[in-house]
Amino acid sequence: MKTTVPIIIAFCSGFIMIITFFLNPERGFIGRLEPEVLNWVTIVGGFTLLLGVVSIVRINYGAIKRKSENRGYKLATLIAVFAMAIPAMLPTGMSPLLGTQPGSIYDWLFNNLDAPMMSTMFAMLAFYIASAAFRAFRARNTEATLLLTTAVLVMLWRIPMGEIFLNSIHHSLPGMINTYVMSGANMAVQRGIIIGAALGAAAMSLRILLGIERTYMGK
């Protein structure tokens, strides 16, 4: 029963989504079912949010209580969770600082702390790319040398100064890199991976739909 009911739910939900793809939403009940099913996903997701809050509070509070080594971080996490959530949930009528509208505490924390920290994390990617590229582009063997040469050509093609340099060698060189490297070899490989992944996803979906694949339930 513990396995059969989820399999039936998965089959019905998946079957509805497939059928509605081929039916006109203006006609009939089934055609209009797709947005309904997607709404159910949102509703279930909303309820599970409570699970996330419980998990984050339990783990961090437990670490603080045990006086673990990194309890400072745990305390900062808990303060951040409640400082963002509580003022946002209280009604705006009590004070203009409450709620999520511009000028509220939530809005100030989001714009002045959350957003800059997210941007900082994203900006750090540049340094990570540099360190990964340094390791990946070492000319250890023939394949690695080929990769290095291709990468240098593409990087030169991408920057204005590099394009001027490539043009000075031969005027058609930037166009050739675009045609043969980016739109040729690169795109062909990417499409191959995308087609393979799409088939894999479709096959797995079919296995889940028919109840053959049950590993996502721990079986």
């Binding site: 039936i8 497939i18 959350d114 997210m118 990570y128 990946a136 096959a203 028919l210 694949e213």
Partner: protein, 306 residues
Amino acid sequence: MNFAALTGRTFAIPALILLLILLADFADAQAVINEVTPDSASQITPAAPLFRFDRFNALAIMVIFSIVILIYTRWARAGRNLFIRKINGLDEVEEAVGRATEMGKPVLFIPGLQELDEIETIAGISILGRVARVTARYGTPLMVPVRYPMVLAAGQEVVEQAYIEAGNPDAYNKDIVRYVAGEQFAFTATVNGIMMRERPATNIYMGAFFAESLLLAETGNAAGSIQIAGTAQPAQLPFFVAACDYTLMGEELYAASAYLSREPLLLGGLKGQDWMKLLLIVLIVIGIVLISFGLGNWYVSLFTSV
């Protein structure tokens, strides 16, 4: 419950209900047609057809694909020997967990950064079950930070089941799978912090990853962990290839659960998928030839009307 029973008994009732709803829809449409009188007929504007004929090509491909998969699944069930090529990244999972056990350090598993309604996340959760079985068997600590509460619930269920099946239910702790943050980079910062503080011996990334892929993989590399990654996001694959020891590319991620379990029914699906790929290659080659000779416009239209 075997396959025949599944397709026959379990799905009979819901399939019947869906069929009845579909028939009711047709009956409803017929009732509207019956109400039409010669006077009112001139005022009727043509309604959109019930079936979307512009998507017939997708339906045809889907039907062929389903038939091929089901044929191979039946053959696998009948005991046919099916060859599946070696996937190094998956073979190394047990080795990597063994290394963590020897070092007395934890294994970190990330099932991607997407919701549970994405097939990549489901594939990641499936692999998590297999990894959790190995960690349960060896008594190795496991950490699974997640970004969405629904993934948290599914992950906890899968890991608990794995610990029970491995005969080590006492080692299961609800906090193995933990919700850390809903924001993409807040999640990344937390996981990077875990990597640098706890120094896991093995990091396994299986699922959908985006801009954070290199932030995670490079930090894991700096922490000296063995890293195995798998994703179907083509843009993130180069980052994982550069920073991880083993990388599963695209379809290998979806093949992982079948490959690790070696269950004939699941392997049958993989073989069916390979045949479908061969069919697509043939269709692409035919298209290239027809287009090269200027005869392919009708052929292209067969695939582009969706």
